[in-house]
Symmetry: C2
Subunit: 370 residues, 2 copies
């Protein structure tokens, strides 16, 4: 949806006009009370379920969203937007700057998780949706969930935050910085103007993705999936080929990523995550972000997630408890690492199903199965 009204940004600048690309699944009920906003992770997009129109692969959250799935599109009206700063149709650095008729590139303003959420709120306003039955997301999607609950408490009946945190840790900032430096070191990045100059910083973007991908897996998962197994050979080469399966896998992940993601979006979105710190915005006291909240919270973390460790989720739980918010917290035992939120995790599925059923009951949505 294209907006010709300006969007005021947290950094003081404004976008003169902006577009929010989005998808919906299921049907809106007449009371408009069955809306579930799904917020996507860093490199996700609005194509939650079904077949992705560009990659031809299944939507990124097929395990969780669809008919009969935990976020049941037979009952709920699911909306997912491409985030502001993204590269799948919403306004971001690769879109055309109307002032110059060239891609924004580094002229795109710095955006925050709060800006992403505000853009989503504008979309909901335009769709005539006042209140969300639930907002749900994992990783950076979970950051948006917390931001929604903090910024628009009365619009959010429930908030499901998975494998996320109320701030980006310094270790995570460090990994992001490596990725950004890899992109900006690539001569094909051309100071950000690669689209205008017809180049693609594939090497830098690929290295950024490879680094990030390691952090999405647990050490146990890497051991289980690849171990020290060789890739299509019996002997080591004593050279710099991809001798090991894990090397081959990472190279593939890096390369295929460059075909679907924009390098400048990578810079902007990592920066938005780095800057995310709900406590800092509330005088250093995280609980103040949620004081008086009427929202029901469900927080989920995974034991082997070292990118967004349980400790970070627990900080949110403690903050919510200290202001007597309604909060459920589940730490799920798994060796799948951060990526667990995207995978078949029965305890996660059951937790989401049960929580959403209860919330649906609260807001008076009939169970079609009954």
């Amino acid at each position: 949806m294209a907006f010709d009204t300006p969007l005021a940004l947290e950094n003081g600048a404004e976008l003169g006009a902006f577009t929010v690309a989005y998808e919906t699944y299921g049907a809106l009920n007449t009371a408009k009370s069955n809306v579930v906003l799904v917020t996507h992770a860093f490199t996700g997009d609005q194509f939650v379920a079904g077949t992705h129109p560009i990659t031809g692969k299944p939507g990124w959250w097929e395990e969780v969203v669809g008919p009969g799935k935990p976020v049941d599109t037979d009952r709920f009206y699911v909306i997912c937007t491409n985030i502001l700063g993204g590269c799948m149709g919403s306004t971001g650095p690769r879109e055309i700057d109307p002032k110059t008729n060239e891609p924004f590139a580094l002229k795109f303003p710095g955006v925050t998780i709060g800006d992403m959420v505000n853009a989503q709120a504008h979309l909901l306003d335009a769709l005539g949706i006042e209140k969300l039955m639930a907002v749900i997301g994992g990783s950076m999607g979970g950051m948006q969930v917390l931001e929604w609950a903090s910024r628009y408490p009365t619009r959010v009946a429930s908030a499901i935050c998975i494998a996320a945190a109320a701030r980006h840790t310094p270790q995570n900032i460090a990994f992001h910085e490596v990725g950004r430096q890899a992109i900006m070191a690539d001569p094909d990045w051309n100071e950000g103007n690669y689209l205008a100059q017809g180049t693609v910083p594939e090497r830098g973007l690929s290295i950024a993705r490879m680094t990030a991908h390691i952090t999405y897996l647990s050490e146990g998962a890497i051991e289980r999936k690849f171990g020290r197994n060789l890739q299509g050979k019996d002997k080591i080469s004593y050279g710099f080929e991809a001798d090991f399966q894990v090397e081959s896998y990472l190279r593939h992940q890096g390369k295929s990523f460059t075909q679907r993601f924009d390098a400048n979006s990578y810079l902007y979105i990592t920066r938005a995550m780095d800057y995310f710190d709900l406590a800092a915005r509330n005088g250093g006291i995280l609980a103040e972000a949620f004081r008086g909240s009427p929202t029901r919270f469900c927080l989920i973390s995974f034991t082997s997630d070292w990118l967004f460790p349980t400790e970070e989720t627990r900080r949110v739980v403690h903050a919510l408890n200290s202001v007597a918010a309604n909060v459920s917290f589940v730490e799920i035992e798994t060796d799948k690492g951060h990526d667990a939120f995207l995978l078949d995790e029965p305890v996660m599925a059951d937790t989401i199903t049960g929580f959403l059923n209860s919330v649906a009951n609260d807001v008076g949505i009939e169970d079609k199965g009954q």
Copy 2:
């Protein structure tokens, strides 16, 4: 020391001639029974103590080696060599290939931890030293320690292996692969021929170092040292400057590293570590690497070391126990991460002191303090 005899390598090739650069500290006793070989970590060198002649900084193991230190140079004769494949005087990819009169670059043969140890053994032979009172090292230095004990059991009275493993884990291989790809993606790498072409792949090498550096620190250490503190500013920039202290620190680490380390050495040495797998060489049974060993072992790990986690050291301890080797094992509680072995760690210092005193007593070395 320059050798004009060939060095047979594990990959089947040989180096026609080779040089082992080394430093010594303390005095060799007449029985030649007080020799401690210190093996250095990945980016270390032979300058263990004193002032480094190139960087002007203290030696890399000042905390551990010196007069009155745990490896007491008033009692012991300490030898440290620059590893084969390194860039501080021992034969490596940046040295001149006598066949072409140009730097070896990628014509340098792939070397292994075993080759490094063999080169050290040649040096000891040339110095007339048959037996080591101890071999001691951390990280890749610890890999060399295990290799020494496995390859030359009768030459090693005792082996102190710190923050290391008997194999490189797939997660570690993954991080190394990212670093190599960053170097090889830098156009200034020039397919490895940068020295001949007068370029330096500074950007790639810097990114490799930044990535690796994150793995040397624990999440807790990063939190304690930097947190989310900004670097020399009050407000975030909403851009891609080094807003955070952790970013500024990593950039500095990356940049300064390029002034002291060779990019091709980075490739070769990471590969040697990747290939290290003592069990694989012994039919998949690690214990076989040590069966019948007369060596006294001391193994040390650190609780917050996620690069070489205690679990990996425990595998070595179990293997040693299963062949009734003489082994001490200490896991040290610290939040300093992998780098702890380079830092002021009193329990590590006491452990090394006590162990070496006992070994010195075994081999009949007088305590000068008595």
